[in-house]
Amino acid sequence: MNDSAPLQYSPLNDVHLQVGAKMVPFAGFSMPVQYAGIAEEHLAVRASVGVFDISHMGQFFVSGPNAQTWLNGLLTNNLAKLTPGQGQYTLLLNERGGVIDDLIAYQLAPNEYFLVVNASMILEDFVWMSARLTDGVTLENRSAPFAGMAVQGPEAAALYEKLCGAQLALPARNGIGTFSTPAGEVIICRTGYTGEDGFEFFCPAATAGSWWHQIVALGAKPAGLGARDTLRLEMGYPLNGNDLSPDRTPLEAGLGFFVDLTKPFVGSEALLAQKANGLPSKLCGVKLIDKGPPLRSHYPVLSGDSVVGELCSGGVAPSLQGSIGMAYLPPNLATVGTQLSAEVRGKHYLIEVVKKPFYKKPPTAL
């Protein structure tokens, strides 16, 4: 991506400005980082329901008689496991097995797929995939015409029923469904990036404001990228660009569950070799033990006096009352309970390797 390129604006930009959201540049878009406050928005999503603008994310459509075969040669997970209406988390790798992007692939119909990709990677993914197109496959980037909203929280399903339950039953977890409106198609995906139940709602850009206002009127609290980041970090979900990179494989990132090595795909040979030779590092969760400053990405991680890695993500965890982070660590240190330190402005603070997810939902009282 070109950092000097002019910022793009979400179809919801005016809505954000009207309510005084703080806007920041993110992945080439001007996006709301917070409305009322990150911690408050975070806790609202855990306790009730919040709504995030995800219009920056990319939407690709893949169709044609060879769509499944072609995608299966590019993506780590196996699309043959899906039936129409189902989706799966998957990754797009380079030849070295490094991560280009992580995405969700949904089967709309036999040989018709819908992909939701990261905003920062729309162009790169599209160029990478286009360069590998084969006969019998059509790939379309329809990111611009779609606005997106993620409605997340324990009350998301109830909100959905009031919003559009009459048009389409809420899909099952990881599922997808669509319905038509006069302005165009609306796509509902039962997924999210917060660890809470919820759905992602993609609609024609021109109708975004109207849907947003309805969702807010039904009780969702507007939540920004700040809360989105603390929520996903508490779940140990990786963020591409921080926790995933072209130099690390999904096996190192602990995403082997989403990699099917029984089929060939770009990068699979590198992963097979890595599996045979042993992983050079593993993505671990760490927790600040000392009272100290919040962990942040790029802080060095030390074992004794030697630097053994750096934090790829870090931040406060509003649901846990502490600070957490993630780091790629050599296998001998990548075990729960290992004590290390993080260097912050020249001082060392004790951290410990802990299990992911950091946050576990308390059992719901009935």
């Binding site: 917070q34 603390t230 402005r345």
Partner: protein, 125 residues
């Protein structure tokens, strides 16, 4: 604690009390609103001698770590340990309980040269 209209303000969003040998320093209402929820404070050691515009403290919000600069030359004589224990004071009472440190001022003219509240509010728009 003073009324904010009596304070002087730095372009880097600190405020300072004018008119006494020991001045109190904090961050502005505008700054706390921009930073969001403050979760950690790193304040200077008492006795440290500092220069104007030297980074002397760090205010960490959920979003980011931000350096705080001394508005003037002087010596740190006290830090607000109540605020390090209860960092939300910086958000809820930036001109009162959320002050950061007190400094023995070497050159009071440096304070007089800073912005009044009216000028500062104009500056931040």
């Amino acid at each position: 604690m003073p009324n904010s209209s009596e304070l002087r303000f730095a372009r880097s969003h600190e405020w300072i009390t004018p008119g006494s040998a020991i001045a109190t320093v904090g961050i502005s209402e505008h700054a706390q609103a921009e930073l969001g929820d403050v979760v950690y404070l790193e304040l200077p050691d008492v006795g440290r001698v500092v220069k104007a515009e030297e980074a002397v403290a760090v205010v960490e919000s959920v979003k980011a770590a931000s350096d705080i600069y001394s508005p003037v030359d002087g010596e740190i004589v006290e830090v607000n340990t109540a605020a390090t224990n209860e960092t939300s004071l910086v958000n809820t009472a930036p001109y009162e309980g959320g002050w950061l440190f007190k400094i023995k001022v070497s050159n009071p003219a440096q304070i007089e040269a800073m912005m009044t509240e009216a000028a500062y509010l104009e500056f931040v728009g």
